[in-house]
Symmetry: C2
Subunit: 256 residues, 2 copies
């Protein structure tokens, strides 16, 4: 663990400095363990004993405890009496390399089902109309879905689709099929590109209740405008993923 050479000391007492040091080391250790948790690096999903982790990472038992507390607070591990610390919540990897629907990207991890909470035409609010390049207050199809993987709530999706395509969606199996696949079937044309924006936000009370997660828990918010291959924007989505159940992974290139 790093020898500390901090250039700022706001609290001059030695005890506070030790606390800060331990907090730093705990975070550092938590980050390393997090990667192992996510990539199945602990056989059987059981973490080594605190002493073993401590000697592996050359940190004190208190630091190990604090690191495990951080991961517990994130819902990644939990303590099981008689067993020790075990991997609790898997984070499912959503790929950022290709434009894929949830069922497509999580295919290896199980079955995605969708609870359709709302579906029907609504007059397009200005910002929706502009992005879908339709006249303001023209009807669009609005779909609100709670999406589950193997029965566990993953995300809450708000979707807007222009009505000429949306009408076709109304007759489709929205509960078991990605909207992406349905759009390609209905238009006879593959999707092209999507502009995405990712943010971390705290779940408001209502979204938290729908996602069955505590109020204020971290949510990965994805805004996505998807175009057909011919360039027409056909699908505007606002997706709230439970932060403890999804990670987004991709490969970035230095050359543009």
């Amino acid at each position: 663990m790093p020898a500390e050479r901090t250039r700022e000391h706001t609290v001059p007492v030695a005890a506070a400095r030790r606390r800060r040091l331990r907090a730093d080391h705990a975070r550092l250790l938590a980050d390393l363990l997090r990667h192992q948790v996510r990539t199945g690096g602990f056989p059987g999903g059981v973490l080594p004993l605190e002493d073993a982790i401590g000697s592996d990472y050359r940190v004190s038992r208190n630091t190990v405890r604090q690191a495990l507390d951080l991961l517990r607070a994130e819902g990644l591990v939990e303590r099981q009496p008689g067993v020790g610390t075990v991997v609790a919540g898997e984070r499912y990897p959503h790929r950022l390399d290709r434009l894929q629907g949830l069922a497509e990207t999580l295919r290896e991890h199980g079955r995605v089902t969708n609870e359709v909470r709302t579906v029907g035409p609504v007059p397009a609010p200005g910002p929706v109309a502009r992005r879908l390049r339709i006249a303001e207050h023209t009807d669009v199809l609005y779909i609100e879905r709670r999406r589950l993987l193997n029965g566990l709530p993953l995300s809450l999706d708000l979707t807007y689709v222009p009505m000429d395509i949306g009408t076709g969606l109304l007759g489709c199996d929205l509960e078991n099929t990605d909207v992406f696949r349905l759009l390609e079937t209905l238009t006879g044309q593959p999707l092209g590109t999507a502009e995405i924006t990712l943010e971390a936000v705290n779940a408001d009370a209502h979204s938290a209740a729908v996602l069955e997660t505590p109020h204020g828990s971290a949510v990965l918010m994805l805004e996505r405008l998807t175009h057909l291959r011919d360039g027409r924007p056909v699908d505007l989505e606002f997706i709230r993923f439970r932060g403890d159940r999804i990670s987004m992974s991709g490969l970035l290139h230095r050359a543009g």
Copy 2:
């Protein structure tokens, strides 16, 4: 706003149903306003009056208030006496299309400075050694930086660099230069690709204090392993971005 056709009713009373409806509409409205806030869609940074928003979006004043409450809770807008609701915190766009350092990607938005909290050699913990393809407990350079844009804390970065390159970094201006640029200068070779993982987590007490944000606030966590063009992994980073100050944007393609 959507006509509701919910297929699940857990609370059978009409009042609760109305509350749920309003909460849904508020979230929907908040999502649309959020995009306008982020893209500078409100001239002068001042939002229209509640009544005007209500008639634009055909929702009740209560729904507008609840939507603005959601955005206030995210730190995106604030109420200013005598002015109304104004855009409060800008979220800076970090591009996901290309591998770029923070100063590079935010060039148009101001000056990035780095407070170096810790820098020095440490024995590489197992998971760091494996990912950087060096022997376990070989020294790596560990750097901990708080990064600021125009003086505002944006992120807390933990960085590991193999020592042969790290030694050179020790003599560089880490406070004013992206590590990416320094790596390219020191190795005489451009960077190639980076594997990234993005997650939303709640800030632990200590990270929150460093980032000057409330304990538990949403943090965008980026783990990134960067390679030189020849394929050698040279930079493993764990970055915590303040959720209210950064959004990640990119373009995804349907074809692989």
